[in-house]
């Protein structure tokens, strides 16, 4: 009745039939090469691809026990020049029917890539009711799905917390207990974005940091800024209609918040575009008062930047609520393992199996701890390597349960771009926040038409 299913089934049948026709125990030799590409990765993230290599070893052993001979060669690559270069390479390779079998990329790519058929629904190959997939955080699986289909397996998680430099906070009057209580206060909405600006001002006025360093946000475009939209009660996706949402009032408050920060002098007008290098070294050495960043920054602060006593120096929490409409929140932008349309059904099945094995808590923890990302599964809390890492375990508990994600929607990228342009314009004073909102609205109407609900 359903032709595609039929085709799939027939292939399956032939494979089974061939397998069945072999006398039991006879070696069933199979050699294949699986390519894995990971984007946005560097040496510290090598386990994104190495986990697949490890999984291949396990799968080979399993096959061996069953009496089959399986030889999997895993080819890995992650030295792309940035996310742009990686995605370009994957997409063009896929158009040339030459994509790697497995890609590790941001979950946001699921929407366009599934529409074009570049990726296969992973739920066709693996059972989310069995180990280890049944142990994954539900919200991460949700983020790996599109149109009700699970396309990917989350590879890691992170979150973009709010940070404060403890010595400065103490100088402006917070006690140790206050600081310990702060994440809770943030979570309950008792400490808001308004307090952020006020404290930033105090820190600056106390001469602890230079002008414009009181509130020291991310220096470039990024998903982080949507957290502030949520802080003011903005919604990105309307869950009932599946359409994007542009909440003008909430967005205007975001623009006003950053415009006000510049106006108060706690953030530099030309802050955007500051090189990351400089930014890292500044926030890791107390040159900034309050800032927001990513959980993975921990590795950089304590590694290259040489911050010895992280927990004594840096307070972290959810991004505070902006007003009573919104609440404290954080956004996670998990990477996901995706199986591409490359190769036969059989290849895809093996690729999916490799991904499943690579998602075992122990293997995934290697990546989480080495790269300072967060885990993907509940039981990782009981893997010693994970549990013994103060950062991983504290951050997971404090942040991950409250993490949401940017929507998987083909229209989100123009929305994202438009939102950022408006923010940049109000930040640098090119436009008033109201004007910027009006411009974003007209652009969204052109770009997205009926795909977005404007409130």
């Amino acid at each position: 009745m359903l032709k595609t299913s039929l085709k799939r089934a027939l292939t399956g049948f032939f494979v089974l039939a061939t397998a069945a026709s072999l006398p039991f125990g006879q070696a069933f030799a199979r050699d294949l090469t699986i390519q894995v590409w990971a984007g946005g990765s560097n040496v510290a993230d090598a386990y994104r691809v190495d986990a697949i290599t490890m999984a291949a070893d396990i799968l080979e052993r399993e096959a061996d026990i069953r009496g089959e001979e399986l030889n999997i060669t895993v080819e890995t690559k992650y030295d792309f020049d940035g996310w742009g270069g990686f995605k370009q390479a994957v997409i063009l390779a896929a158009e040339a029917n030459n994509a790697p079998h497995i890609v590790v990329t941001g979950h946001g790519d699921i929407a366009p890539w599934s529409q074009s058929g570049l990726i296969r629904p992973i739920e066709d190959y693996v059972d989310f009711d069995s180990w280890p997939l049944n142990d994954l955080f539900e919200n991460l699986i949700e983020i790996s799905s599109y149109e009700g289909v699970i396309y990917g397996v989350p590879q890691d998680a992170e979150s973009r917390p709010f940070f404060g430099w403890i010595p400065h906070l103490k100088t402006i009057g917070y006690s140790d207990a206050d600081i310990r209580a702060m994440p809770g206060k943030v979570q309950r909405g008792e400490y808001t974005l308004e307090d952020v600006l006020n404290d930033a001002k105090k820190i600056q006025d106390a001469g602890l940091v230079e002008a414009g360093y009181g509130w020291y946000p991310r220096v470039s475009k990024g998903g982080d800024y949507w957290q502030f939209y949520q802080s003011y009660g903005g919604e990105m996706l309307d869950s009932s209609s599946g359409k994007l949402v542009f909440d003008k009032a909430a967005m205007q408050k975001v623009y006003e918040f950053f415009a006000k920060a510049v106006e108060m002098g706690v953030t530099r007008k030309n802050h955007i575009g500051t090189p990351w290098d400089q930014w890292y070294s500044e926030v890791a050495s107390g040159k900034a008062g309050l800032w927001h960043g990513g959980t993975w920054h921990y590795a950089r602060y304590t590694g290259k930047e040489g911050l010895k006593d992280f927990f004594g120096s840096v307070m972290f929490s959810l991004i505070p609520a902006g007003d009573s409409n919104g609440k404290a929140n954080t956004i996670t932008h998990p990477l996901v393992y995706l199986v591409t349309n490359r190769g036969s059904e059989d290849d895809a099945a093996i690729a999916a199996q490799l991904i499943t094995i690579a998602s075992e808590p122990r293997i995934n923890t290697l990546h989480a701890i080495k790269s300072a990302h967060l885990g993907i599964a509940k039981s990782q809390q009981s893997v010693p390597l994970y549990a013994n890492d103060r950062w991983a375990s504290e951050a997971t508990v404090r942040l991950l349960p409250y993490a949401s994600a940017q929507p998987n929607h083909t229209g989100f990228s123009p929305y994202f771009d438009a939102m950022w342009k408006g923010l940049e314009a109000s930040w640098t004073g090119q436009k008033s926040p109201a004007q910027a909102i009006a411009d974003v609205e007209s652009e969204l109407k052109v770009q997205l038409g009926g795909d977005i609900i404007i409130r």
């Binding site: 560097n42 040496v43 030295d79 792309f80 020049d81 063009l92 390779a93 158009e95 040339a96 030459n98």
Partner: protein, 274 residues
Amino acid sequence: MSQNFKNWPILTGLVLATVPIVLMYSYLVLDTVTDTKPGSIFPNSFTLEHWRFLYEDIEGKANIWQVTLNTLVFASSVMLLVLSVSSTAGYALSRLNIPFRREFLAGVLILHAFPSITLIIAIFLILQLIGLYNTLIGVIIVMTSLQLPLGIWIMKGFYDSVPWEIEMAGLQDGASRFTVWYRLVLPQVRPGIIALGVFSFLSGWGEYILPTVLAPANNVQVLSGYLASLIADDRNFEFNLFKSVGLFYATPVVIMYLFFQDKLMNIYGGGTKG
């Protein structure tokens, strides 16, 4: 040239304007063998540490020698192809009675100043259609094609300046048109061939976008992509390493340049006289 004017004001002005170039390139060399602390002007101690990439692969990166070999193959193939195709086509357009010669020439002239790189999406599609995506050969052919209008134009200019009598004499001496071209005319345009050859080799050697987009695979990576991916990796930010790789990358260029500098100045010798 003239003794009637003083030189020092000119010299001073030029020296000032040239300071950034001199600074950048001399520190390029200096920093590869020293450790200059970030933010300080003077290098301190001598070290060969930044050159370690020559004998041990940087983690997660391709092998430098493989990449260098790719680059060499890429640049020299582009050079040879551009030279052979431009020198024949340029001759045909300059000297041979072919129908539509006018149209060909106008075409070359238009393409000569054309936004070629913006066509890259379509180029990708064609390359993919003929199965040359992600191969060095594919990028070589594309790079050559994009350089051809300039190459043909330059060669035509050089051919135009060869005296007709030489060719006429050759014909009278009983040589075929091909022999005349090969044995008599080609030697006359040697400056053009050298200039164009050096120019296209250098363009191939330095090209970044085409290989990056059309052949991203590791085994066909060229030095531009290697260096760019090194820089993109923001957890390994080390200027001295970039510079060492950069110097390694630039050395063949600089050597060629020293040898052929005068010749390269000739590049526009034929093609742009109005």
